[in-house]
Symmetry: C2
Subunit: 200 residues, 2 copies
Amino acid sequence: MAGLPESEVTVKERVRIGGRSARIQNAVHDAVRKLGALSTRNQITVPQIAAEAGVTPSTIYRRWGDLSALLADVAVARLRPIADPDDTGAVETDLRAFIEQYAEEMSSPVGQALMRDVLSALNQGLPSACAGFTCDHLTTLNARAKARGETPFDIDEVIDHVVAPIIYRALFSDQMPTLDYCNRLIDRIYPPARKRRTAS
Amino acid sequence: MAGLPESEVTVKERVRIGGRSARIQNAVHDAVRKLGALSTRNQITVPQIAAEAGVTPSTIYRRWGDLSALLADVAVARLRPIADPDDTGAVETDLRAFIEQYAEEMSSPVGQALMRDVLSALNQGLPSACAGFTCDHLTTLNARAKARGETPFDIDEVIDHVVAPIIYRALFSDQMPTLDYCNRLIDRIYPPARKRRTAS
DNA sequence: ATTCTTAACGCAAAATATTTGCATTAAGGT
DNA sequence: ACCTTAATGCAAATATTTTGCGTTAAGAAT
């Protein structure tokens, strides 16, 4: 429950890590999550968040700058992985399982909202940080594969031809990707054994 | 009744298309483009736009609702195609030329800003409309191909494996896609004749 | 062409949100 | 325990957004 993953070694922070600061950040993040959850992204406002968190609005403005920066900060915190992908015993099934869960999360209304929040913050490199999370997960799968003696996949190829189509459709169309669709994308990385490239 | 050459049959609009309304919409759109161009998307505000356009802020609020809706409206207007893709004489070179220009536009700072503006508008189906523009262009290329007797490409495949990677990298990384990168993506649709899958 | 109806606009006041100055609190170091 | 200073709370100042109401002009009817 001590939510902050600010492990004490990362003292490179330019902001104070101490008790009060962290307490306020948690309160504000919780308030954003709570309000964002029940109000389905209907004009959530800074004074609202401040009241819910029990802080003054000026604190939020000073720490985060504006609403979109705060929403983006909360979004990356929620997008940041808390656990490694499931270990299914083989790299191909690992990848399929991970992509299935990833597609589900990102295509859901909350996932779409999180991505929009991250993309709206134009100041820092938050979008590329989120892309880094995905890359990290794929790297983890590959490390497992190597440990098992399997040949790893090409991460860039998975990003370009599996992750990117899923995200593109999640952002620019409003239809959830089916499990079948995800598996067809992965078939390009791991072609089905029996069939050749029967592209219809 | 002298002035406007408005086609009289398309009266299906639910908003007035007459002189003043259109004049104000143009003035506001021009103001957004002008301010957005010089200020590199640094906190542009509704009163600023209103002053530049010579209208009162309340008009903007009443017509568009809020700033993000206005920015999204301007963005789709700018993203909407004004001309068909260049005709290079063959479908493969048509596709390569179109994708090169598309990648250049979308990866530029202004293209990224336009996409963010469109994605920020959660009310209507603006994002899917923009995806429709791309789809329309690809359909045009295919229609040309058929007219020439060429075999058309698979539009969904181009969207998933050429367009989507370009957009994903434009949104989530900050590196422009090289022409070489785009061509390698299209090589999956039109494999190079001489070389086999020399992935190195 | 004139009149009628009404959507869209301008204006100004009210409500709300954001910024800023200053006093106070508490974190981290001496 | 003391010192330094980043971070906060409070409240005033400023800016933005909303709203009521009178006016303008577009589109239809006469």
